[in-house]
Amino acid sequence: MSTVEVKRETRPSLEVELAGMKLKNPVMSASGCFGWGEEYARFFDLNRMGALVGKAVTPRPRPGNPDVRIAETPAGMLNAIGLQNPGPEGFLNQILPRVRLLDLPVWVNVSANSLQEYVDLCDLLSQADGVSAIELNLSCPNVGRGGAEFCVVQEAVRETVSACRKVCRVPLIPKLSPNTTDVVALARAAEEAGADAVSLINTLVGMAIDIDRRRPVLGNQTGGLSGPAVKPIALRMVYEVSGAISIPVVGIGGIACWQDAVEFLMAGAAAVQVGTANFFNPTAIPEVIDGLENWLREKQIGDVREIIGVARQPKRR
């Protein structure tokens, strides 16, 4: 039996390690695009995912924004949900007891408007059994200046991350905004401040206008743009950032099929998150995982880690 045949038959390894966490595979849900999994558990076994990233938790419960909250755009969508969530108590009492039973890492996405709020939330939530990591949402465009300031100023990122790092008992993963001049500078600041990894990108601030009603479509006027439309921007940022820092990068933005995930891995992402695609294809995540595995087998690549960042190396033949 030739080695080629052996290769063909062995199952490729999809396992990756990220900030000390072992993931079955590098594919997870993106915050706010998967609820806390209960809806999608009706379509596939959540334990197939590399990790579950839930909706943002804010210092106090939030009812969310008045309608209209979403609008379709070419190959994308705008959202201004307004971080609707039950707050820390609601999360700890109603949500965590259920999701901690899952056999996969659970990341909590944390969003706030001040340094102190970020620190307090990290302190509180990182002590809870079942919280595997904290993803710091430094960039929610839909909750007014407060949230927005954090996303784009290097100093604020450094300050917030190092303060949270001190109190956070689990891996701390700042999620960076793309609405910035120099995302590499933000990533460097996060790394220097002790981040265990960075996630990017969050949504780009956008708008749509209803020409019949002569006003913005969204009740919030502006919203966050996501979906395949933003993939080229996200991919470029992941490519730049992963070349500039030494902590892992979680690639996010417009991933809708396994080929997209491969692009992000080749650009240097250690793992990827699938967001908007869950909405238009509830089985997007298992399809990405299966597609990735089949492609690796076809190409006779034994370990998914072999392709991480290869597009950044000199051209191969």
């Binding site: 695009c33 998967f34 609820g35 209960e38 809806e39 999608y40 558990a41 009706r42 379509f43 009812p63 969310g64 008045p66 309608d67 209209v68 909250r69 979403i70 609008a71 379709e72 755009t73 070419p74 190959a75 994308g76 969508m77 959202n79 949900i81 609707q84 979906g227 395949p228 439309a229 809708a256 908007t276 869950n278 909405f279 238009f280 294809n281 509830p282 089985t283």
Partner: protein
């Protein structure tokens, strides 16, 4: 919430024009055909493109449990339905459902169904469902459209033994005006429940009338949707008690008093 939701790359079995701009699409979907109840909807996405990106919600218009297929009826108005139109028989679309809460039959002697525009499909499905009940109730169907040629499903309603009355905005058929103007006369004496689906202004009117008369009613709402399953929080409407309800999972069928109109 815990049982699984059927999802397919479903084959288009039939696709016909039933009125100007109005089409009926038949989809191969055995589980959905078995499980679907009147008022529920499915999400449909055309494949091979990201524009339009999002699936569209369509009420179940017919469910043939034996044949293992369902019908949806849509009006071609925009990008989603424009793309949907191109899916000839043999092509596959992504389909999941049935979704949302169905109409709940109240213990009454008469049921009045009110349908406007593309709100007619679930009304037809409900009429046929009521007609098959062991203890049939008197069914009146009030159907509104902008103009006569856009009146759809009337024949199905009549075959389902419903008393049909129509209204058109331009007076080309039936009552000249809003369909809701026909409603009050049916709320006099007999114990009646009202079920409605159509544009928001029509539903608001039905809510006003039925609440004023203390008549039980259920209204099937529409809202822009991304996921259809409760995850995106994009389809919310304000609750009278405060906070927001998701049309896709808390609805689409609501009682008038639940919503802050």
């Amino acid at each position: 919430m815990s049982e699984s939701i059927p999802i397919y790359r479903a084959e288009v079995l039939d696709h016909v024009e039933v009125a100007p701009e109005h089409f009926v699409m038949t989809l191969d979907a055995p589980e959905i055909a078995r499980e679907a109840r009147p008022g529920q909807f499915v999400m449909v996405r055309s494949l091979g493109t990201w524009d339009p990106l999002l699936p569209r919600a369509f009420s179940v218009y017919h469910a043939d449990a034996e044949g293992g297929c369902i019908d949806i009826m849509y009006r071609q108005v925009g990008r989603g339905t424009g793309r949907l139109r191109l899916n000839e028989p043999g092509v596959h679309v992504q389909l999941w459902g049935p979704l949302g809460k169905p109409f709940q039959l109240a213990d009454v002697e008469q049921v009045v169904l009110v349908g406007g525009g593309v709100g007619v499909p679930p009304i037809v499905f409900y009429a046929e469902y009521l007609d098959r009940l062991l203890a049939p109730v008197k069914v009146v169907a009030l159907i509104g459209a902008s103009t006569e040629t856009f009146l759809v499903g009337i024949d199905h309603l009549q075959r389902a033994n419903a008393t049909v009355r129509v209204a058109t905005d331009d007076g080309t058929a039936g009552h000249h005006g809003y369909v809701t103007q026909l409603l009050p006369e049916y709320l006099e004496d007999t114990p009646t429940a009202v079920y409605a689906c159509g544009p928001m202004p029509m539903l608001a009117a039905v809510a006003r009338i039925t609440e004023a008369q203390g008549v039980p009613a259920e209204l099937a709402l529409e809202a822009p949707m991304a996921c259809g399953v409760g995850a995106c929080l994009g389809c919310t409407v304000p609750r009278r008690e405060g906070g927001y309800a998701r049309v896709c999972t808390d609805g689409p069928v609501f009682r008038p008093e639940e919503i802050a109109w």
